[in-house]
Symmetry: C2
Subunit: 266 residues, 2 copies
């Protein structure tokens, strides 16, 4: 069914708005318009709380409109219309079109004591889990190398519950350029996570002290970076079974633990 503008009170999005929204399910469409789509109650709630300035318009059911305070243009439509515009099989009844946030300028200082970086994480579900876990741990930045999934893709936004809108994301061409940029803002060394080599993450001193920790690609692991120290998660059962998101969760919460104890393990 094509989008129709209701001539009386314009409660439906225009044909152009519908076309824009649908284009945002492709990387090409997002790049062209510098917009993204954010869907689902929690993700949209996070977007509204963190970056209401980015919201261009929202399409939702009457029920959702009552639950949330919605910034900007809001179109209250039928559940069928939502299903038509939704990227999910069972829509939660709300989606917003938002501008993609600008990246911080390279020289912008980072206020965190530690930064997690993702090297070519390809799965939007893994990206999303890692992003919301980092957000839950109180990290404010997440760094990505080229080859990592688009953090503003619809699946990545849903999986992260919109956490990317409350964080600063920085992109890098590769690990070398990431390391240079890190050094320029006073961060280093850059640790590489490894399934087999390196010091235990529970023992490594200085692992979370103005440092960067890189989680690698799901299939090929972390890329090469000459001279970079490696850290691993000890695995007493000798059963390799942690995916990238679980490994990231362990590293992130070891940071939380050390912060809580306010002592560095030595």
């Amino acid at each position: 069914m094509p989008c129709r503008k209701n001539k009386r009170d314009a409660v439906e999005p225009t044909r152009a708005q519908c076309a824009l929204l649908k284009s945002l399910y492709t990387r090409h469409g997002r790049k062209k318009s510098a917009r993204c789509v954010c869907e689902g109650l929690r993700a949209v709630g996070e977007l509204f709380a963190a970056r209401p300035d980015l919201v261009e318009f929202t399409v939702c059911t009457g029920e959702c409109a009552e639950k949330l305070s919605i910034p900007g243009n809001c179109f209250v439509v039928s559940p069928e219309k939502i299903e038509e515009l939704s990227g999910t099989v069972h829509s939660q009844g709300i989606l917003s079109v938002a501008r993609v946030p600008d990246e911080p300028a390279p020289e912008t200082p980072c206020g965190d004591r530690f930064v997690l970086a993702l090297d070519r994480i390809g799965d939007p579900g893994n990206f999303g889990t890692i992003c919301r876990t980092a957000r839950a741990a109180g990290l404010t930045e997440l760094w990505l190398t080229r080859g990592t999934v688009d953090p503003y893709g619809d699946k990545a936004v849903r999986a992260a519950l919109g956490a990317q809108f409350s964080m600063k994301l920085r992109s890098f061409e590769n690990l070398e350029s990431l390391r240079r940029s890190a050094a320029a803002i006073g961060f280093g060394p850059v640790f590489l996570t490894d399934p087999h080599q390196g010091e235990s993450c529970f023992q490594a001193a200085g692992l979370y002290d103005r440092t960067v920790l890189v989680i690698g690609c799901e299939s090929t692991g972390v890329g090469e970076l000459a001279g970079a120290p490696r850290v691993m998660i000890p695995m007493p059962g000798h059963f390799e079974s942690l995916n990238a998101a679980q490994a990231a969760t362990i590293f992130i919460f070891e940071y939380v633990r050390r912060q809580e104890n306010t002592v560095q393990t030595t």
Copy 2:
């Protein structure tokens, strides 16, 4: 296409074997025959290594047959035949029918210092992730309350990469009976995980000292258990976003960390 017995050399499973295999995709079928199906290279590899005595027969492609040492009856069939018998969209070319392992008798001692228990975890993916993470951490038991997903369902086996075949699983009617049984073999207290209340898992003394830690249902949390201490994962970012599997991973690897340090945090 119905299963056909090749009269010359019986390289195909019989009609009865095919019917049995297909029945194992339902809980009813598994209960009736006390068999389960284990599919995929890693899961089957784990089953063969841990419990070859349970394997009744294996159906695989020629390529898989060359890669693995297969205990018991093996039928080498076409990829199309595998697809027909498989529970997945894209089969890895191997599946086995195995007997469901017996539970240990209630009075059997548990050799671990700490036991993870799952209270009505309903998602086979979550169950599987938790099971293989527990296995990776070197735990040998996993306890379940009634209402937890069937640990020998095909999805649970695939998600756990067959880790349930190397572990002892014990089932309990509810948390009360679990606590009684734990006490009978020298375990206690039973800690309940909670998103909001209780001591930090990074601070709680004695959390892993002949104790049980219960992870609760994805939607309703852990059940009631009068007088049981509660523990939580500190969340500096105030963003509730950890699912049951991630939370379990954090608790399990805090155990690994304390084991590695061989000191109890106090």
